[in-house]
Symmetry: C2
Subunit: 362 residues, 2 copies
């Protein structure tokens, strides 16, 4: 650099000094991570010393002490990447997901495991479960719930026939907007979007653009691109996607459910200790008799446990049986949940802890 | 956390303290980055204060002082992400690339600009140039050379008809292997791979697996997946891709050119100052007369400048003219290159500096 002493070059020198310190600390952290691996006496793969509860705890501390200027999301992202690199010093984690690359599921993988983990794009949700069970993947990431369209049944059903555990959850939020060149609703004769986005905005489209042609394309980015070159077309895409394609917003928040979140589960083969802010997923089967569901649910109320979700499915185990997927607050190691599970065991046909895992980070 | 004082919990406390320091430094760095933006008196978009030469300089220092345990590549990756987050505090950079998401071109975007930049997947290389010219994208990333298949002509030709400048280069290395379940060449009756990989390994396949059926599929990951479920099939994929799918290596380094690198150019609208280790791309047109190429090249030798690449194309500007794309070492601001360009100007029909930019990082 040929800078003389200007305010800019002084500032750059200060940034260089900060970078030197950051680098030294990251190297030190990577050294400690290696030492932790040795203390644990584990093998040579990342899976042997990956601790989701520890990572969640670290990231929550990052959020707690963040005073900006970076957003919590950006700061968490950077620490995920630092942990991802430290962990990948041996054989990196292998994460199965519903491919191909570039999908929403891969975004969830990267948000949770960072970019130093290996992603295995697979052909179906079933295959993700199979690869994890067979040990070809260390973990899998599968969509389980879209707030617009409810639970994803194929994912729930896989728990009925596999031994998969739940080791984490990831949430991706999407707010859909309608974008066009001119930004006027009355000009719109065609709407481009990914099929899933069309589905998510069905009601809004029916009410506000009745009879208008809806065309499914490969991605919402593709939709925005097509809308840019047409006077009479609009695209459904996230706020930023439309913006970067230079489109104007016709309408915001057009998804049928205002909080359009896709929730993913991280599946694995083992259970992990508490992180301090956890959720527990239970799979409970009951015989079909009057009051069966009440008998299952009342112990939660009795022991002061919050229910987050409940979903019933016909069980595959026998006639007249029902399976309930129940998410509650807290870790299975906690006294209250232990007591509730004990009480439920007296009336339920079977009860299985699918997993206790850290609540999703921002 | 309920840990008592064990070696593990002590180690974790030390890591927590390191994390606190890293976070404080990253926040401080982000604050300085904002101040630099103000000192420059620039607008509110990242493009106004993005300095590729400064980033390259910072990353080279990172490599120089890296003593492990993280690899240079991982450490550079983390600093790219930190800089990417700091820069994206205002409107993030918008980077056009040949879509869809998940392609090799997107990998190049992420390697160079990190994950806080916006990626705009576009439909063609031409469109990337157009979007940059129109200001819809701040920069574009386009493939320009594959060491197996040579220069990508459509990219070169775009420089003949557009005002695009070159602001950077990115290199991605791929080593292809043949993988199968059993790892034996004699069992292989079918080979799955992405069409481009089949092309890159054509000679090896012809010699070692004559007459064997080659089947193009969507990606090499898909190929590895298909090969896992067949006794008589193999897949072409990178070393790690095969490994994560649990396949055995049949043969390594099967690409026809041993150093299988794809080189990308970062295109933009302006020229940037020296980073300390730069390359310059020139576009020179000459009239078709004896000795024209010699006249163009001799000034480089005279002024001690290394030629990295030369490629001739018929120019679109007039009959009997030829265009030469010439890459040389050094920055256009350097005395030697200034002198050489001056000398060339006396014999060439036209000479245009496409850009001086930092040499690609690992």
């Amino acid at each position: 650099m040929t800078d003389t002493k200007t305010p800019l070059s002084e500032m750059r020198e200060r940034i260089d000094s900060i970078d030197r310190q950051i680098q030294q600390l990251i190297s030190e952290r990577a050294n400690h991570a290696q030492t932790v691996a040795k203390v644990k006496g584990a093998g040579l793969s990342a899976i042997d010393y990956y601790r989701p509860e520890r990572e969640a705890h670290v990231l929550r501390m990052v959020v707690d002490r963040n005073d900006g200027p970076l957003s919590d999301t950006e700061m968490v992202r950077l620490f995920r990447e630092i942990m991802s690199s430290c962990l990948a010093q041996e054989d990196p984690l292998k994460i199965g997901f519903l491919g191909p690359e570039g999908t929403f599921s891969e975004q969830a993988v990267r948000k949770h495991f960072g970019h130093a983990a290996y992603g295995l794009p697979l052909g179906s949700i079933e295959e993700v479960f199979q690869e994890v069970a067979a040990g070809h993947a260390d973990f899998g990431v599968v969509p389980v719930e879209n707030s617009g369209q409810g639970m994803i049944q194929v994912t729930l059903d896989m728990f009925l026939t596999s031994d998969a555990t739940i080791c984490g959850e990831v949430e991706l939020r999407v707010h859909q907007c309608l974008h066009s060149q001119a930004g006027k609703l009355e000009d719109v004769k065609r709407v481009y979007a990914h099929a899933q986005s069309l589905q998510q905005c069905k009601t809004w489209l029916r009410i506000n653009l009745p009879g208008v042609e809806c065309i499914a394309v490969g991605s919402n980015a593709e939709a925005a691109r097509l809308a840019r070159h047409a006077d009479d077309a609009a695209a459904i895409a996230g706020e930023t996607a439309g913006k970067i394609y230079g489109l104007k917003i016709v309408a915001q928040g057009i998804e049928d459910r205002a909080d359009n979140t896709t929730r993913f589960l991280v599946i694995g083969r083992s259970l992990f200790p508490p992180s301090g802010n956890d959720r527990t997923s239970l799979l409970i089967t009951v015989n079909d008799k009057p009051g069966a569901l009440y008998d299952v649910l009342s112990p939660f109320a009795k022991h002061g446990i919050s229910l987050n979700r409940i979903e019933s499915r016909p069980a595959h185990t026998g006639k007249w049986q029902y399976a309930f997927f129940i998410d509650v607050s807290g870790h299975i190691d906690g006294d209250a949940l232990q007591a509730a599970v004990h009480d439920i065991g007296e009336s339920a046909a079977t009860i299985r802890v699918l997993g206790s895992y850290p609540v999703a980070l921002p």
